[in-house]
């Protein structure tokens, strides 16, 4: 190509392309760093990492089972807690509340998402944890007995506190996603149910929730991804103990809180390597969630499109 004949447009495009490619290289480098820093020496090494719950930097024994358990339980249960509340709240905001009330309510929920996660952790540590320690956990042990999932002394901090805090943090995310979803539902599908003699709640349930089922699943996946990666608030309230314990009372450690509390102190290579493996697991987990929700979004778009073009609602 003759560079003298390159037009100004082409030069402009090359310039911004260079920026784009440079950025892509940074991200590739990032993936490469995380993968190369965490290589497994043998297959037994690999199995040990996922099946052992013994994490001991001093003896160079690194098994991540307890962190996986804590990450998955806290994020799943926080999703279970937050999902119904967010569903009800977003339905109330989009379908039932009068406009002024709706905008006030959604402002309240949105503001929560602007609060930095470390502040929610601080609040959890000084408000939620004492309540758990003094009333909720003793009450749970009275009801369910002190064994299995409720064994151990009530510290306040631990899996239960982390789950509750995560649920609070998921609320605004899920509510915002669901509000977008419900707003996009064509009015005709609600009106159809009403015209058939359905009550208002039936119209909402069949017309709005029924029409956005796939979207709701997508929202759940996005929420799960958010919960898995959440670090600071969890680190403050989970108790930071590296042992495996089934009990919800137990002090524990998630993948992300482990990194937050140990990376700055890791000096020997084996420890750094093990932490990089934890980072890799977290990396892959969040990318999988992202990919799953993306596939689902594509499916919903196809569904929404066919619905609209078939219905001629507008």
């Amino acid at each position: 190509m003759n560079w003298l004949r390159v037009t100004r447009d082409q030069r402009f495009f090359y310039f911004i392309s260079v920026c784009g490619v440079a950025f892509f290289c940074v991200v590739c480098l990032m993936g490469y760093r995380i993968i190369s820093a965490s290589h497994f020496h043998s297959s037994s090494d690999f199995i040990h990492f996922f099946t052992s719950s013994n994490w001991d930097p001093v003896k160079k024994n690194f098994g991540a089972l307890s962190f996986l358990y804590a990450t998955l339980t806290t994020s799943l249960f926080s999703l279970l807690l937050a999902f119904p509340v967010a569903l009800g709240a977003s339905l109330f905001i989009t379908e039932i509340a009068p406009r002024k009330l709706a905008s006030a309510l959604s402002l309240c929920v949105e503001l929560l998402s602007t609060v930095p996660s470390v502040i929610i952790g601080l609040w959890g540590l000084s408000v939620v944890v004492p309540v758990l320690r003094l009333t909720v956990q003793p009450f749970l042990q009275d009801v369910f007995g002190q064994s299995g999932f409720f064994a151990g002394p009530p510290y306040g901090v631990g899996l239960l506190a982390a789950t509750l805090i995560l649920a609070v943090m998921l609320l605004p995310t899920l509510t915002a996603l669901m509000r977008e979803l419900f707003k996009a539902v064509p009015r005709a599908s609600v009106e159809a149910v009403l015209a058939l003699g359905g009550t208002r709640s039936e119209a909402i349930w069949i017309g709005v929730v029924g029409a956005s089922k796939r979207g709701l699943i997508t929202a759940a996946f996005l929420g799960l991804a958010r919960a898995i990666g959440e670090t600071m608030a969890v680190t403050l309230v989970i108790g930071n103990r590296n042992d495996f314990d089934l009990s919800v009372m137990a002090l524990s450690q998630t993948l992300s809180s482990l990194m937050a509390s140990e990376i700055a102190e890791s000096v020997d290579t084996a420890h750094v390597e093990a932490l990089s493996r934890v980072a890799l697991v977290l990396f892959l987990l969040s990318l999988t969630m992202r990919e799953l929700s993306k596939r689902l979004i594509k499916l919903t778009q196809v569904q929404g499109f066919s619905f609209k073009s078939g219905g001629h609602a507008k």
Binding site: T7, R8, D9, F12, F13, I16, S17, C19, G20, V21, F24, C28, M30, G31, R33, I34, V85, A86, G88, A89, F92, I96, C108, V109, L111, L112, T114, V115, P116, S117, V118, I119, I120, G121, L122, W123, L125, S126, V127, V168, L171, T199, R200, S201, E202, G229, E230, T231, M232, S256, M259, A260, I263, A264, L275, A279, L282, F283, S286, R290
Partner: protein
Amino acid sequence: MMLNTFRVRKTKNIVAITLMGVTATLACIPIFLILFKCLELGLPAMTLQFFTELPKPAGESGGGLAHSILGTLTIVTLTTIASVPVAVILGLLTSEFPKRKTARLASLSLDVLSAIPSILIGVFIYEFAVVAMGGFSMLAGVAALALIFIPIMAKSSHEIFSLVPREIRESGMALGLSRSRVLVSILLIGVRGGLLRSALLCIARVSGESAPLLFTALNANYFGTSLFRPVSTLPVQIYTFAQTPFPAWQEAAWAGALVLIGISLSIQVMVRVVGSKV
């Protein structure tokens, strides 16, 4: 029988709607609890000392978080200066040339970066910059925050650019302008209000980020003036103080939390003001 089922359905309706109302109230409660606690514990600690002094040693009362406030302001300013141009360029690339390969690569990397948890960005910068440069530094913190700032702002500027109607571009072309001239002088200037707004929202977001700063900028007990030394920031300082048993430090953490929330709320207000004016 029919009357009965109708009654059942009616009751169900009322119960369902009440439940929705209850959940909506429930969803609004946490923000008030958090704001109230911040005001209750943070306001008394907000003295002049808090804004002008360094923290006192553990156990002593008094002292402030001047270095963290200054650190947050510095690091966020530097991040903004570094990221806004890159983010706008990436937004322009992905929205104006969506079919080009480079644009696809860029939007793929933006997707990946915005999907992964912010602590991983910290890990990356730690392994890449901190270990390589031989120590924690403000520069590493800026790099970590920029990697959070860029994908968010690039995505929102992508949205902003794609909302501009085709006709505006076409009328620029019809006047005989080159495509790059249209993009820079018409598109970019035309949406500057929207870009400013999204930059402000990103600033609010990154000023509260602590996970990526934990092991990049670390923390310090002095005023951070050098790019190559650790610097204290409000979120990390709050995190550190929250874990200590000393009342004076915990009070300082709450006052810091109030300052952070104040920053993010005032940005929200600014965004609304800018939105109505530009």
